[in-house]
């Protein structure tokens, strides 16, 4: 099964199980969790089911396209289910069958892995799912997000698409993956990995990024004052990306690092609180009225 067939199959599966098939967010994020379809929607009492691919950027993970397992830009397939269904583990296992992994022919394990995101003020409990010893999915019951304790509880499934594809296609390098039957992953992304590694580690204009961080933060705070949680959150994401860029350039000392993370977290918390307030005023419209 090629890379895009895996994505299409997962989309079909989760669509059939009542998920909104959303699209990737149009702002740089470090993981699918940052997408407002997850970060904001898991807050408050309204039910929510969505699935989407999220291109994720982790500037410090770049390896100039030389390491077969590491990328500064990769793809996650994200499913968010709120409230978490009782049979979510079974659903997940069925989804694996859909992409050609029959759980009865493998050793599949749910191995403890608690998750925490200091930038999002979020934490959860769950597992990494092992397929014959390889981690293929993060499976997390969110307990708090944006500093708020959650009820009902959402469950997040994050499929590591490249890992899964490497397993299915029996490839030892991510760049050898068949994206389609004619185009390799490396043909799409090797150059971007080389260029962005150079940019992130060597060339990024730190002064510009420091300036952007400040501006994004200010704009986010202004939007919060104006009761505009979605725009405010966009700027929170942008400031988070600016921080990641500066981090990759080693422009931030370890002492300052904690301070910057705290500033992003403070924005995320304010966005979360404002979002809840706005939804409450709107009468939590996604709750089905009897």
């Amino acid at each position: 099964m090629n890379f895009q067939d895996i994505i299409l199959s997962l989309q079909t599966f989760w669509s059939n199980h009542g998920c909104l098939i959303a699209q990737p967010y149009d702002i740089e994020v470090g993981a699918g969790t940052f997408n407002p379809h997850t970060f904001l929607r898991v807050l408050g009492p309204e039910p929510w089911k969505a699935a989407y691919v999220e291109p994720s950027r982790r500037p410090t993970d770049g390896r100039y396209g030389e390491n077969p397992n590491r990328l500064q830009h990769y793809y996650q397939f994200q499913v968010i289910l709120k409230p978490s269904p009782d049979d979510v583990q079974d659903l997940y296992l069925q989804s694996l069958i859909r992409i050609g992994i029959n759980p009865n022919e493998h050793d599949i394990r749910f191995v403890e892995d608690d998750w925490e995101s200091p930038t999002l003020g979020a934490s959860g409990l769950g597992w990494e799912v092992w397929l014959d010893g390889m981690e293929i999915t993060q499976f997390t019951y969110f307990q708090s997000v944006g500093g708020l304790s959650l009820f009902p509880v959402s469950v997040e499934l994050t499929y590591g698409l490249e890992r899964i594809a490497m397993y299915i296609q029996k490839k030892d390098s991510v760049f050898d993956l068949d994206w389609t039957d004619r185009i390799k992953y490396g043909q799409v992304h090797h150059q971007t990995e080389v260029e962005f590694s150079r940019y992130n580690f060597e060339k990024a204009d730190t002064e510009m990024w420091f300036g952007l961080f400040e501006k994004y933060e200010q704009e986010s705070l202004r939007c919060i004052k104006e009761n505009l949680p979605f725009p405010a959150y966009d700027f929170c994401l942008k400031s988070s990306h600016a921080f990641n860029m500066l981090d990759a350039r080693s422009a931030i000392s370890v002492t300052e690092r904690t301070g910057y993370i705290a500033r992003v977290r403070s924005l995320a918390k304010k966005c979360a609180a404002t979002y809840i307030k706005e939804r409450e005023e709107a009468g939590f419209p996604l709750i089905a009225k009897e």
Partner: protein, 695 residues
């Protein structure tokens, strides 16, 4: 006699929570049944990632009957002046289903009260269980617990079913919408259909049929046997083959599977050129594989414990692929890390904060170098240890944290120090230096192994004493259970190293002139106390020794050994009583300043006698103390007992005459000074007291 079975069915619980959860269930069940007067024969617990179970055998069908006294209103309120029962008395009788005539008066420490004696008929056991099992389940404590869906309860992971049987009957109850039943589930993939259990006795075998070995010890046996079997197959090919079953890993792996199957995989021999520690860590820590070792040499195989017997070839191949990726990462780090020199790594530490209020890692390294050098020079000066190469000590101290900035240690934090050793060796540093870099992290736990080399010991002490002094300096002082920088463990490490390596180091000298000297010394004293008690000395022996002096741990150890030995003699106890009198008088009337005894002022014969005895032995005792022969010193001191006792019998110390009083106090002070060279015997508990404490 009926059996009870309770199984909490869950999504996969963390391996580390299972044993503790089962232990709590066992204890809670025991106290529940005892408290509720329900007899039982035995309790077994079973567990796996998807279930925590308890089986109670030979239970009584109901509670035992009980005779109880129920207290009512005070007597004064129960009868009027004429002695007739009041409304209060009648009300109480009625509420207890008794008649007023049968009420009794009970005298309690608070006064006299009305009382009714009742015979309570035991309730059916199943009824008691129905009420109490929900609480037993929800009260299990886990280090982290969670909520799920729309439920209010918390547990380690979501509860998906509850099986509760009393013999063949379901014990009916509900927890937040989850109802108890007789249904359970077998192996997630090998036996996915629901299973009905009709009687607790069937449980273990029914689960085994459904590919779940519920007994944790049995799973461990199966894994150990599987490893041995795979080893056996290998032995035909290679002589001297052995395998190493790491006990912690076995415990963990046994709690990660329900149906263990041991498979052997292999990896490319080219990875054997990596440091063995790296390969083993990749296997054990990340993948939970057991390494295969032949005469201390790693073989290119691994043993993985799968949770299924299906498709062993696919499972093996998948695991081989994962390990290949991990090893290729490790090889990549090994090569790229070595492109940067260790001195450059130390330079990089300028950018790393060690502790926000204290400063960078680079500054810490600089301090470690200074302290280590100072210790090494002191040891060379004293000359009791093998001569140290100061340059080597400086170099090892300089490099001791260099590996923290390598990619390998970033990826495998537990390899800190170990990689330091490998990188230093590979960069051509001497074996002594490389070894000291590795060992300076020891001990890793309170009672863990200490460095074996002297240089490693010195760097370790220097690093730890620096952490303690620096943290105390900025107010990061451990309190109660709060000790985020593990300063207690580090202090313990220093003490254990000093004792184990027999280093003649003085704690006061070691912490130098810190503003918090007294606080730190007190902190170190506690660790020394712990170390000595841990070595089996009686607590009061340790107190007596440390009260006299604790600045030289090795010396304290010798004195404790001598005191413990001499305490076997019958004379010591009365001696300690006499010495206590000496110390009590000195404490209540402290001398303005210790003065010489004036011989001409001595009046009574027993005074003269005591003074003569002291003068006779003083020189000998001091000489013995100087060569640390504390046992002999103590036995000579013990000879003073008769003189001290007759002194106290015949002589009054606190007399009116100031000169006489001062002289007698000085005499006592002489005794105290001599004894305190070894121990403060007044700290010894009396035998009758210590005996009574045992009961």
């Amino acid at each position: 006699m009926p059996d009870l079975l309770l199984e909490i069915g869950t999504e996969e619980i963390p391996a580390g929570y299972i044993q503790s959860g089962l232990k709590q269930m066992r204890e809670a069940m025991q106290s529940l049944l005892q408290g509720e007067r329900i007899g039982f024969k035995g309790i077994n617990t079973y567990g796996s990632p998807r279930r925590l179970s308890i089986l109670v055998t030979g239970m009584a069908t109901s509670q035992m009957d009980a005779d109880v006294e129920v207290l009512g209103p005070p007597k004064a309120a129960a009868y009027d002046k004429q002695g007739n029962p009041t409304k209060a008395a009648e009300g109480f009788a009625k509420s207890q289903g008794a008649v007023v005539e049968n009420l009794k008066i009970k005298t309690t420490p608070k006064g006299e009260y009305l009382c009714v004696e009742k015979h309570i008929k035991g309730k059916a056991a199943i009824e008691v269980l129905r009420k109490n099992l929900p609480g037993l389940i929800t009260n299990i404590y886990f280090p982290k617990s969670m909520r799920w869906g729309t439920k209010e309860i918390r547990f380690a992971r979501p509860i998906r079913w509850i099986l509760a049987l009393f013999d063949s009957e379901v014990i009916p109850f509900e927890i937040d919408g989850i109802s108890s039943d007789r249904i359970t589930y077998g192996h997630r993939f090998l036996a996915p259909s629901p299973i009905t259990i009709s009687h607790p006795k069937e449980y273990v075998s029914a689960m085994e049929k459904a590919f779940v070995i519920v007994d944790i010890d049995k799973r461990k046996e199966i894994i150990a046997a599987g490893i041995a079997e795979e080893a056996q197959k290998q032995r035909g090919m290679e002589e001297g083959f052995s395998y190493d079953i790491n006990a912690d890993l076995l415990d963990e792996v046994a709690c990660l599977v329900e149906y263990p199957v041991v498979l052997r995989g292999g990896f490319d021999e080219k990875y054997l050129s990596l440091p063995q520690d790296v390969v083993i860590t990749s296997m054990c820590e990340h993948q939970r594989y057991f390494p295969v070792i032949n005469n201390d040499t790693l073989l290119p195989y691994f043993l993985v414990v799968a949770n299924t017997s299906q498709s062993p070839d696919i499972v093996r191949e998948g695991n081989e692929r994962v390990l290949r990726a991990r090893l290729s990462d490790a090889a990549f780090f090994w090569d790229s890390d070595r492109k940067v020199s260790l001195d450059e790594r130390v330079e990089q530490q300028k950018k790393v904060v060690w502790q926000e209020k204290v400063g960078t890692l680079y500054e810490k390294t600089q301090r470690i170098v200074e302290v280590a050098e100072r210790i090494a020079e002191e040891l060379n000066r004293i000359g009791k240890t093998a001569p140290l190469d100061i340059k080597g000590v400086q170099r090892a101290a300089w490099l001791c944290k260099a590996d923290l900035l390598t990619e390998m240690v970033y990826e495998f934090p537990t390899l800190q120090g170990i990689m330091g050793y490998h990188y230093a060796s590979s960069a051509g540093e001497t074996e002594n230096v490389a070894m000291a870099v590795k060992e300076h992290y020891l001990p890793k736990s309170f009672d863990g192994d200490v460095p074996e080399t002297l240089m490693g010991a010195i760097i370790s002490i220097a690093d730890k004493i620096d952490s303690i002094v620096a943290c105390f300096h900025v107010g990061l002082i451990p309190t109660g259970s709060e000790d985020p920088y593990a300063l207690r463990r580090q202090a313990q490490g220093i003490i254990n190293i000093i004792l184990k390596q027999d280093l003649p180091l003085n704690l006061l000298w070691l912490i130098a002139s810190s503003e918090q000297s007294n606080q730190i010394l007190g902190f170190m004293k506690q660790r020394l106390e712990y170390a000595l008690i841990n070595r089996g000395f009686m607590a009061d022996t340790v107190n007596a020794v440390l009260e006299a002096d604790f600045s030289f741990p090795t010396d304290a150890l010798l004195r404790a050994t001598a005191l413990e030995e001499i305490r076997k003699m019958p004379d010591i106890e009365p001696l300690s009583i006499s010495f206590k009198r000496v110390m009590n008088i000195l404490k209540s009337a402290p001398l303005v300043k210790a003065e010489e005894v004036n011989e001409s002022t001595l009046k009574e014969e027993s005074e003269h006698k005591l003074y003569r005895s002291i003068c006779e032995i003083r020189g000998t005792v001091e000489a013995l103390v100087a060569k640390a022969d504390y046992l002999e010193a103590l036995s000579i001191l013990a000879g003073l007992r008769g003189d001290i006792d007759s002194f106290f019998d015949k002589v009054m110390v606190m007399v009116e005459d100031p000169e006489l009083r001062r002289n007698r106090l000085s005499l006592l002070n002489e005794i105290a000074t001599l004894f305190l060279k070894v121990a403060d015997l007044s700290m010894l508990r009396q035998a009758d007291m210590s005996a009574s404490l045992k009961f």
